[in-house]
């Protein structure tokens, strides 16, 4: 028997930091579009059902339009889709799960949707699901705690595989929020110790956005569509898991990439114009000539002269247009080239050279970081102002 393990769809994630509204809508829509690619996998692999291990929605108060569109997508999957509330869309009064609108849309558009709000077995034709929903009302500290209750497994059919469906961090894994909004990071940890030995055939976990195997029968599938820049090597997201499971045997798990957007991260230290040009080349390689599919975090450090800084800035304008999102973390110091300094300080204009010397002095011995920044800016402005005036004069001649 085969089923699809997915999680952390975070439908309705706003991507608020993407300034460009059009791009933001595109990125947002990608999460929903990927669901249809999951449908493709269902059909190709004849999956019996789909398990969504929490955080179906990005919040537990999504808007009605989000609800409608998602229900429509789920309905198209055609197989049972079992969902538990995660920490982002945890169950509770006035949450999405209680909203009449959701209930109606689910009924009308996604009759195959099973929302497991209670800690009790869900019997499917080919498996028993043991959901561990995240709930604000739950009496238990850990959603898995109920599995310890004696008679849970006693009445379960012995021939059907038993699958625990849960959401939360297993010990050291604490998920991090992509949106950057404070106060929403998951601190919900779960303990697998509550699962009795030999009673369960697969544990489908959600909350960790990259694919991660905890043990042979315990997996984080990761989010179906990446929502953040990679955290480092081996950070693999955008997958679903195709799980082959039967009672009393180790499951066979297969990864399948379904994501559409590419999230990149580049860290560079720059010190010259040629560094800048080299960086430009690397970025071009990343996008492979495509536009509107990639998101990039650029973490730049080092120091550049006035001219090089200017070149970098103009390049960046181009990148900004090509990428869905360019998130720049820049801590490049302005260190003018000798000839730039000379241009300013050794000219026959006593005022300009005097002022430039003073600014340079401030840059080299700033009172604080702020003064340093201001001085750098001031030097650039002075530099360009001189250039502009000289150019104008030349033009006049």
């Amino acid at each position: 028997m085969r089923f699809i393990h997915t999680a952390d769809w975070h439908i309705g994630m706003p991507y608020a930091r993407i300034e460009d509204q059009e791009k933001r809508v595109l990125v947002r829509a990608a999460r929903l579009e990927t669901v249809s690619r999951i449908g493709k996998a269902v059909r190709e692999k004849s999956a019996s059902f789909v398990l969504v291990a929490g955080d179906l929605f990005d919040s537990n108060t999504p808007s009605n339009s989000t609800v409608s569109r998602l229900c429509h997508e789920i309905g198209k999957l055609s197989v049972p889709v079992v969902v538990i509330p995660g920490n982002h869309d945890s169950a509770g009064p006035g949450t999405i799960w209680q909203q009449p609108f959701f209930q109606k849309e689910a009924r009308d558009l996604a009759p195959n949707l099973i929302v497991a709000l209670d800690a009790q077995p869900v019997f499917l034709d080919e498996a028993v699901i043991l959901p561990c929903p995240c709930s604000q009302l739950g009496p238990m500290a850990d959603p898995l705690e109920w599995l310890l209750v004696k008679d849970v497994f006693e009445n379960l059919p012995n021939d059907l595989p038993r699958i625990v469906l849960a959401h939360g961090s297993v010990q050291e894994f604490v998920s991090q929020d992509v949106s950057g909004t404070p106060g929403n990071a998951s601190l919900d940890t779960i303990s697998l110790d509550f699962i009795p030995e030999g009673q369960v055939d697969y544990v489908a976990l959600g909350d960790w956005h990259a694919t991660k195997k905890i043990d042979d029968r315990t997996w984080y599938c990761g989010t179906h569509e990446p929502d953040r820049f990679p955290k480092g090597e081996g950070y693999e997201s955008g997958n679903i898991l195709l799980v082959n499971v039967s009672r009393g045997q180790n499951p066979v798990v297969e990864k399948r990439h379904v994501a559409s957007l590419r999230w990149h991260k580049l860290e560079e230290t720059l010190s010259s114009v040629s560094d800048v040009r080299h960086l430009s080349q690397r970025i071009n390689e990343l996008t492979k000539g495509q536009v509107g599919r990639d998101l990039l975090r650029l973490e730049l450090s080092g120091f550049l002269g006035i001219g090089a800084t200017r070149e970098l800035e103009s390049l960046m304008e181009g990148w900004r247009a090509k990428f869905l999102w360019l998130d720049v973390k820049k801590s490049i110091e302005l260190v003018p080239e000798d000839e730039e300094i000379a241009t300013l300080t050794t000219r026959p204009d006593p005022l300009i050279s005097g002022v430039a010397s003073e600014i340079l002095n401030k840059m080299q011995n700033p009172v604080d970081e702020r003064e340093k920044m201001v001085a750098q800016q001031a030097l650039r402005e002075l530099y360009f102002a001189c250039q502009r005036v000289l150019t104008d004069k030349a033009d006049q001649r």
Binding site: P14, D58, D349, V374, Q377, R380
Partner: protein, 922 residues
């Protein structure tokens, strides 16, 4: 350039005048209208005005007095080269000749070269009126001395000249370039675009817009945050309220059950308490009955005891009473005896007293009668005396009436006569016939008898015998005559008096008088006797005595009436009567003593009787009281015994009642035990507590339900948008706005930094640049105002804009030129001119003339002294000073030479008298 000489012809009032200048200082002196100003004007025109000038300017130089065109010829050194210029101002025919160290130029060429030499633009065409502005920094026209020369320097051309000169002095590159100006102006503009003059962002600036955007974003975020918070709160409220409702319902259930059990207990308690009350009443009744019985018994016993006591008290009282009764009757008898005796004695006493009184009255009567007799005798005597007195009066009246006064008068008259006669006799001559026969001797006709002395008071003839006649003339002359007169007078008076009385002599008168006196004395004696007899009162007295006799007689008869008998008096024998009285008195005393004795006894007896009586009454009262009490007790006793029965009966009743009481008490004890078990002291309290608790729980339940409903309502409204998503969006917008603002602020700060640095550099540059000028001005001013004075030439951009002064004696206050007094302005302006001239002189062969035309008129004499010092300094530093004044004495200490111009009244030549002066050069 150093002037050597000037010659002028046909210029205004001057027909012809020549002056030679001293190389350093020349003072041109002269009274008003001597043409001093005209002279320097002519020199100025010679230097700057084109010779072909026409029109009003030309006319103003010409004069109708002199024929011929105005001519000016000047000689000067330039860089040690001798030069000269000659101009004839003749309109189009005017000529200019310039000789420069041997080279000669003519016409406009000469004019151009000259202008170049002087550092001014040539005035070749029209615009000759501009001439006055030429070298105005070196040329102080009359009345312009206090104008701010620095202001004039603002004039672009001169400024440039000066700047150039200063640059030559200070350093070529210290002036800001054009690029400097453009770039600094660019930043100035940026700052002005972004900030107000107070340093606040301009409303139109990007900075302000971004600030506003951030504020709005913050506000929006706050609003979204509030919405999310309220949703979270509602969710929390809902969960809590739900939990609370459940818990409260449980509590309420528990409370209600507790209340029901309590109510049951209370009901039971009520029943028990009812019974307890009933039994209590019964017990009270019974114990009251017992009490009553015991009381009654006690009362009977007490009454019986009391009765016994009364009886025992009454017995001795009765005994006492009888004894007293007897005593009182015996005392009564004794008292009667005593009073009878007393009565008898009193009767005897009364009789004796009457007898004594009768005796006294009788005695009194006898005395009265005796007196009566006596009085009658005296009255008889009185009548006889009265007759004698009457006789005497009669005798007296028969005698001549002469009184004492008349006797005195008579005596006096007689004495007067005697005295007069004696006086006469003393004067008279005594004549005594010792012996002669009688009738022989005669005095006149009067015979003188021997042995007798005669007195002759008047001339008399003594005749003796017939033969002898002797005339005797007594002495005294006239006195004799007056004595004689007096004697006659006295005699006459005496006779007169005697006539009045009707007697013939004094002796007669005296005799009559003494007879009367004697009779009177007799009468007086009789009168006295009469008086002694008592006079007229005697009869009255007699009447009184008669009345007393009558009354005594009636009293006597009254006494006798009372006595009832008339014992005889022992009359006529005083001793016997006295004896009788004495015996009576003795008897009286005896009886009185007895009376007193008896009376005392009687009183004593009476007192004793009274005491006994009182005692008896006392006992009687006591007895009566006791008896009354006994009667009362007996009555009460019988009543009570009737009520309660006898002793035995009473005892039985009491025992029975006590048994009943004990039984009831036991019942009550049992009920109390049951009540105690119910803890009644807590029951009501518990009930109230539970009820109160239930009320509170209900209230809380209502509150929780309300909260739940409110939360449900709010949560039910969700769905249109995702508030969490909106919050994230709002946060991102806020952060973006913050970041943009920070960048813009950094940019704006950068502009401000650059701008402020430009301004700072400009200031520094300006100060550095203007230093040579400032230094020189300060140097000259030090002559005036002492060391420490500091002048600063102000530069803006590349221009001198003015001068600022700092004077130590003014507390380092900074002054602008306009702040100064007129006098000081003149002096400061002079210093500035000298400094400028010095700097400009570098372009004119190291020397320039500076002309002061009456330039220090507002300066006080002490300052003029300092002005001289300043001018001397300028001369030493290479300038040529030309000073015009009408008071040459003011400038005695200026070195060089003084030229006197005299007033010209249409003279042919203006004579310039030159006074050579030793230069005070040092």
């Amino acid at each position: 350039m150093r002037l050597i000489s000037a010659s002028i012809k046909n210029y205004k009032l001057h027909r012809k005048v020549s002056v030679e200048f001293h190389k350093s200082v020349t003072v041109i002196a002269g009274p008003n209208e001597a043409g001093k100003s005209t002279l320097v004007e002519a020199i100025h025109r010679g230097l700057f005005l084109r010779s072909r000038t026409t029109g009003a300017l030309l006319s103003s130089m010409k004069t109708r007095i002199w024929q011929g065109n105005p001519e000016v010829h000047l000689e000067f050194y330039l860089d040690d080269k001798f030069c000269s210029v000659s101009k004839v101002f003749a309109g189009q025919r005017g000529s200019t000749t310039l000789n420069l160290g041997g080279e000669t130029f003519y016409g406009d060429d000469a004019e151009r070269r000259l202008a170049e030499l002087l550092g001014e633009e040539p005035i070749l065409g029209r615009g000759g009126q501009q001439v006055i502005k030429r070298w105005s920094h070196l040329w102080v026209w009359q009345g312009k001395s206090s104008e701010d020369v620095a202001q004039e320097l603002a004039n672009a051309q001169k400024n440039e000249l000066l700047i150039r000169a200063v640059q030559e002095l200070g350093g070529a590159s210290v002036v800001q370039s054009q690029l400097d100006s453009l770039v600094s102006a660019y930043f100035r503009r940026l700052v002005e675009e972004n900030f107000t003059s107070r340093g606040r962002p301009r409303a139109s600036s990007r900075l302000a817009t971004l600030e506003k955007e951030l504020e709005e974003a913050k506000k929006a975020y706050g609003q979204k945050r509030e919405i999310c918070d309220s949703i979270r709160q509602a969710r929390k409220d809902y969960i809590e309220a739900t939990k609370e409702i459940k818990a409260l319902n449980r509590e309420i259930d528990k409370g209600r059950k507790g209340l029901a059990s309590l109510l049951e207990k209370l009901k039971r308690l009520e029943a028990l308490e009812g019974k307890r009350k009933e039994k209590g009443a019964e017990k009270d009744e019974k114990s009251a009955y017992v009490k009553r019985l015991l009381e009654l018994d006690g009362e009977i016993k007490a009454l019986e005891k009391e009765k016994k006591e009364i009886n025992s008290k009454l017995a001795p009282l009765n005994l006492d009473f009888e004894v007293l009764d007897e005593e009182i009757s015996s005392l009564g008898k004794k008292r009667q005896d005593l009073s009878r005796n007393l009565g008898n004695i009193r009767k005897s006493l009364s009789e004796i007293r009457l007898l004594i009184s009768r005796l006294h009255v009788h005695e009194k009567l006898s005395a009265l009668q005796k007196k009566q007799e006596e009085l009658k005798a005296r009255i008889k005597q009185f009548r006889e005396l009265e007759g004698q007195i009457q006789q005497l009066k009669h005798e007296i009246s028969a005698l001549p009436k002469i009184d004492e006064e008349q006797i005195q008068d008579l005596k006096k008259a007689q004495e007067e006569l005697i005295r007069s006669e004696a006086a006469l006799e003393a004067m008279a001559t005594g004549v005594e016939v010792i012996d002669a026969p009688e009738g022989q001797v005669f005095m006149g006709e009067r015979p003188l008898k021997p042995g007798k002395e005669y007195t002759v008071t008047e001339r008399s003839e003594l005749r003796v015998g017939d033969s002898v006649v002797i005339a005797i003339v007594p002495g005294g002359g006239k006195a004799l005559l007056s004595c004689q007169a007096k004697v006659q007078d006295a005699r006459a008076r005496l006779n007169n008096l005697l006539n009045t009385i009707g007697l013939s002599s004094v002796e007669e008168a005296l005799g009559a008088y003494s007879k009367v006196e004697e009779l009177r004395r007799k009468r007086d004696v009789l009168d006295e006797k009469l008086k002694d007899l008592g006079g007229k009162e005697l009869e009255e007295e007699l009447r009184g005595v008669e009345e007393a006799v009558t009354s005594a007689r009636s009293e006597l008869s009254r006494l006798e009436e009372r006595l009832g008998h008339h014992p005889p008096f022992f009359e006529g024998h005083d001793g016997k009567m006295q004896f009788h009285l004495d015996s009576l008195s003795k008897r009286l005393d005896e009886l009185e003593g007895q009376e007193k004795n008896l009376q005392t006894q009687l009183q004593e007896c009476q007192a004793r009787e009274d005491a006994k009586f009182r005692l008896r009454e006392n006992i009687r009262a006591k007895r009566q009281k006791l008896e009354n009490r006994r009667i009362e007790i007996e009555a009460r006793l019988s009543a009570k015994i009737e009520e309660a029965g006898d002793r035995e009966k009473r005892r039985q009743e009491i025992d029975r009642a006590r048994d009943d009481l004990e039984k009831i008490s036991k019942e009550i004890e049992k009920i109390d035990g049951e009540i105690t078990l119910l803890q009644p002291q807590f029951l009501q309290q518990d009930k109230e507590q539970i009820e109160e608790g239930l009320d509170k729980l209900e209230l809380r339940l209502q509150g929780a339900v309300r909260r739940k409903v409110a939360a449900e309502t709010l949560l039910g409204q969700l769905g249109r948008v995702d508030p969490e998503e909106e919050l994230k969006m709002a946060y991102a917008r806020m952060e973006l706005a913050r970041q943009r603002l920070r960048q813009e602020q950094e940019r704006a700060e950068a502009f401000v930094l650059v701008d402020s640095l430009f301004q700072k550099k400009q200031r520094e540059l300006g100060e550095r640049f203007s230093a040579p000028l400032s230094h020189r001005i300060s140097l000259y001013l030090a002559c005036m105002f002492g060391p420490g004075v500091e002048a600063k030439a102000i530069m803006e951009g590349n221009k001198f804009k003015g001068v600022k002064l700092t004077r130590p004696q003014h507390g380092d206050l900074v002054f602008s030129f306009s702040d100064l007094s007129e006098g000081t302005k003149e002096q400061v302006a002079a210093a500035v001119r000298l400094a400028i001239a010095e700097i400009l002189a570098t372009g004119h062969g190291g020397c320039l003339p500076v002309v002061f035309d009456d330039a220090f008129t507002s300066s006080d004499p002490s300052r003029v002294m300092y002005v001289q010092r300043m001018l001397n300094l300028a001369a030493r530093r290479g300038l040529q000073i030309i000073l015009l004044t009408s008071n040459p004495d003011d400038y005695t200490f200026v070195g060089g030479k003084t030229i006197m111009l005299e007033r010209q009244d249409r003279q042919i030549d203006t004579r310039a008298r030159q006074l050579e002066q030793p230069a005070i050069e040092g």
